[in-house]
Symmetry: C2
Subunit: 223 residues, 2 copies
Amino acid sequence: MSIEDSISEDTSGREPLVPKAVVSRLSLYLRELQHLHRSEQKTISSSKLGRALGFTAAQVRKDFAYFGQFGYPGIGYRCEELIDQIKKILGTDKKWPVVLVGCGNMGQALLGYRGFAKQGFDVVAVVDVDENVLEKTFQGLKVEHIERLPEIVKRHELKVAILAVPATAAAEAAERIVKSGISGILNFAPVTLTVPKNVSLVEVDLAMELEQLAFSVFQNQQP
Amino acid sequence: MSIEDSISEDTSGREPLVPKAVVSRLSLYLRELQHLHRSEQKTISSSKLGRALGFTAAQVRKDFAYFGQFGYPGIGYRCEELIDQIKKILGTDKKWPVVLVGCGNMGQALLGYRGFAKQGFDVVAVVDVDENVLEKTFQGLKVEHIERLPEIVKRHELKVAILAVPATAAAEAAERIVKSGISGILNFAPVTLTVPKNVSLVEVDLAMELEQLAFSVFQNQQP
């Protein structure tokens, strides 16, 4: 199942589809609210929250309406409360242990990346097939053979894997991950993967970030 | 200048602010349109384009209205034409040569990442300070000392740098990048940088991608 097909049950018993972009905006709202909270701002209106991110107030309200009623008439949203609610919706109010599949350049880079732990994602195991890294220790984790993945997934009750192998090895590695009982894959290999319907897949598009930067630079150059 | 402050001149001579999120949605529209174009779909309405991404038709029209009039009454948007127009707006209708600053794990991983070239971003030079990588060749590029950055920027007429040094080295490296005449930095170091107003900065938040995945997995687990 791709994230686009994610379903959220509402109280009426219907199952409205929550589009990928709505979930993506929840992350943006969360970042903005965490920023406001750190600046000790207590409340914010839908129009101000929208304006900070370039959305209309109606879009903000429509997005939250997928999940319930969070605002207060005459007050707006209470920042700290909404942060907790969004985290609960996203499922990130608790820790997520993660296995890293592939300990080459990208894998090692991701192991050293501190942003994951900050949002509750802990890499607890690393697997690979390459004898150059097997049994070696990176960031306190000893690299195990990918054959041990089912056992590792069970041991740590893992749901999520980060896939960081070369493009040529990605399909086979993804198959092993799925067989091990993992429910979600974050794919850094620049290749489109096919996974069963019950497995979630998010593909990281780093080029999109460069595109955003290019636009900004391009605009600044305009006479 | 951060991307949030980006300004687009319209034909009336006013300078409306184009919010970061609008530009970010342009990248999403572009991906969706490129996908439709590959499936040989010729046209699409604002409501269908919106629905595919979870936006309202009004949001789609409002986003494009920042840049002009692109739709045709009774037809909608012509996919191929809109792709070209978005690329022109983003500035990615031409190639962007890029310098990579930092050739450690993350840098080497990014050098091997094929997604950049596919969208028109070519890494043409690599700099570092570490003697372990200096003068070595990665992906056909010899690592030069960061002191040569001003000369490299001039030689290749570079606008954009990818910063992939450890967090502790990021501030100093960013300062060198800015002094070399670069106008935009894509920062992978998990640290908040301060740059002059005329330099664009995009920070990559990989944790947000994991958050999106967690939501999807979390939703699938609901009974």
